[in-house]
Amino acid sequence: MFEISINDNEYKIEIVKREGNKVTVSIGDRLYDLDVIEPKPGVYSFLYKGKSLEYNFFSKEKDKNQYEVVSGDKYWEVEIIDAQRRYRKNRAGDDDDGGNFISTPMPGQVVKLLVKPGDEVTAGTTVIIISAMKMESEYKVLADRVIKEVLVSEGDNIDGDQPLITFE
């Protein structure tokens, strides 16, 4: 049994029945009878009560449980919560407040490093400059920090969501 989070609501979700491309799914206390095909990998075509609906995704490379779903002009953020994910979520409170490192939301290149391990920096100080697609962005610390590790060098290509600088 899985749970799913959409627009900040969490529901239990389950495939109840499947025959060919006819699928019945329960979500929360609601039941949906659908005709589903996947004409291309990652593209889903639903027929539901006569309506023809098509879904595309932007899933993060790094996190297979998180989906950004697009259909027509509409947009949703969805997270699938399996056992592993629930375990990690429960643990998260203990040792990770989400603010003990600097990362970027997208891939890019390190232009300039402004700190080294051991430096004490005050809130708002720029610690690293990243360039992506002709645009440079400065990344600042949100609170007074002591730099622990600098995990990249100037000129490095980086992925999105990769820790770059960690704090004590």
Binding site: I6, K40, F57, N65, D73, Y75
Partner: protein, 502 residues
């Protein structure tokens, strides 16, 4: 006769130029950096040569390397596209020296128009209107008042040495003139130890309207009417259309004449654009000239029916213009949107990555100038623009409807793009009514975000779609026949039901 053209560019514009080359029976030579071996311009060209590492400064901007490839490949001519070396006077000169045709103007035209001050002076000489204002700093209050009365209110007073908004004063009412001049001067003195000020006409609700021109090497020049480019974000054009909803036939004719005069003033050769700033009352002032092909050139092509790249090549070939001003007219309405790999929900941050799935809009009235393909990884070294969607229809209303259809049929996954944002622009009342200035995006920002008020049923179905894909992905490793049978993904999924404990 030009038989082979080197295109010193990449991305959609390189392919755009190659398309015209192909139609004209001219061979095309691509150059590419190490990041671009699998870019479409390399695959589309007849020949392709590596010119260096990914950073532009070590590849696409190195004149020596480009000239070397031109000689090695036997290219007669170089087309610079836009961006990169397209407004580089040195390339124009070096080509001349090497006996290679530069498809663009002389270094004299590039330099004169490239410098704001010489451009302004040149325009004043031929009576093309420029934004009224002082060119010399003013240190006397009496002089300031006199100048302001000449220019007419509102005006902006700017500290000569200024910057960052310091020492700037907007004056709208006559009774505020003296106090504002004094305030600006004392603030300027305090900040920069210099109380000289400039005075410039202030345009309240500015429109960015530009004219496309073509000049041959035989003294002939025409304009191909205007493009309205006021939908801008951080001075970057986002949406362009032609005709401008603001324009009247009389002003169009007058501006067009001034645009041709502006180009003639620097003995211009080829395709160029005269940018004007225009107020709500259709007073217009020369802003600058772009001495190259513009990103938004296709809307002119759609409405006037001329292939601008083909004309550039013919002019470079020494041919006379094939049409006179009276042969040209506008038919219907065209709109272009620029699609960027960026995240409108995250402050328009560039969002490079790999295109997983791509389905492009087709059908009546749609032109798509792009360079991505499914499986392509957009390099992070270059501009995040991935394509331009252009629509044509008989009138503005239908063109907007067509653009909405085009945007909703343009589907790609893997990267985030500005498509949802552009859809919202096409629905914004100010845009639909044609009543917008360069403040449009700023003013409408809160209605330009994608919809989030969806029904429970819509939410449930979206959640189910994600869930089904997740279950599919989970089981992926176990499947062996999928690769050659993409349509069976889902069927396979069904067969594996038991295995997955569904």
């Amino acid at each position: 006769m030009i038989k082979k053209i080197l295109i010193a560019n990449r991305g959609e514009i390189a392919i755009r130029v190659m398309r015209s080359c192909r139609e004209m029976g001219i061979k095309s030579v691509a150059v590419y950096s190490e990041a671009d071996r699998d870019s479409l311009h390399v695959r589309y060209a007849d020949e392709a040569y590596l010119i260096g590492p990914a950073p532009s400064a070590e590849s696409y901007l190195v004149i020596d390397k480009i000239l070397q490839v031109a000689k090695e490949s036997g290219a007669d001519a170089i087309h610079p596209g836009y961006g990169f070396l397209s407004e580089n006077a040195e390339l124009s000169d070096r080509c001349k020296k090497e006996g290679i045709i530069f498809i663009g103007p002389s270094s004299y035209a590039i330099n004169t128009m490239g410098d704001k001050i010489t451009a302004r002076q040149t325009m004043q000489k031929v009576n093309v209107p420029v934004v009224p204002g002082t060119t010399e700093p003013i240190i006397d209050v009496e002089d300031a008042v006199k100048v302001i009365k000449e220019i007419g209110l509102p005006v902006m007073i700017k500290a000569s040495a200024g910057g960052g908004g310091k020492g700037m004063r907007l004056v709208r009412r006559e009774e505020d003139i003296i106090s504002s001049v004094n305030a600006a001067r004392s603030e300027a003195k305090a900040s920069f130890a210099n109380d000289a000020v400039y005075i410039e006409k202030y345009i309240d609700s500015p429109h960015h309207i530009e004219f496309q021109i073509l000049c041959d090497n035989h003294g002939n020049g025409v304009h191909l009417f205007e493009r309205e480019c006021s939908v801008q974000r951080r001075h970057q054009k986002v949406v362009e259309e032609t005709p401008s909803p603001l324009m009247t036939p009389e002003v169009r004719m007058e501006m067009g004449k001034h645009a041709v005069m502006a180009a003639m003033a620097v003995n211009y050769s080829g395709a160029g654009t005269i940018e004007f700033i225009v107020d709500d009352n259709l007073n217009y002032y020369f802003l600058e000239m772009n001495t190259r092909l513009q990103v938004e050139h296709p809307i002119t092509e759609e409405v006037v029916g001329v292939d601008l790249v083909a004309e550039q090549i013919r002019i470079a070939n020494g041919e006379k213009l094939r049409f006179k001003q009276e042969d040209l007219s506008q038919k219907g309405h065209a709109i272009e949107v620029r699609v960027y790999a960026e995240d409108p929900e995250n402050n328009f941050m560039p969002n490079p990555g790999k295109i997983k799935y791509l389905s492009e809009p087709l059908g009546p009235g749609i032109r798509h100038d792009g360079y991505i393909y499914s499986g392509y990884e957009i390099p992070m070294h270059y501009d995040p623009m991935i394509s331009k969607m252009i629509v044509w229809a008989d009138n503005r209303e239908d063109a907007i409807k067509r653009m909405r259809r085009a945007l909703s049929a343009y589907k790609l996954s893997g990267i985030k793009t500005s498509i949802p944002f552009l859809k919202k622009v096409m629905e914004a009342p100010d845009f639909v009514n044609g009543k917008y200035s360069t403040h449009f995006i700023e003013k409408n920002m809160d209605i330009l975000h994608p919809d989030t008020n969806t029904s429970e049923e819509e939410n449930d179905l979206a959640a189910i779609a994600a869930f089904l894909d997740f279950m599919n992905q989970q089981g992926k490793a176990g499947r062996s026949t999928i690769e050659s049978e993409p349509r069976n993904y889902w069927k396979e999924f069904g067969r594996r039901k038991g295995v997955l404990r569904l």
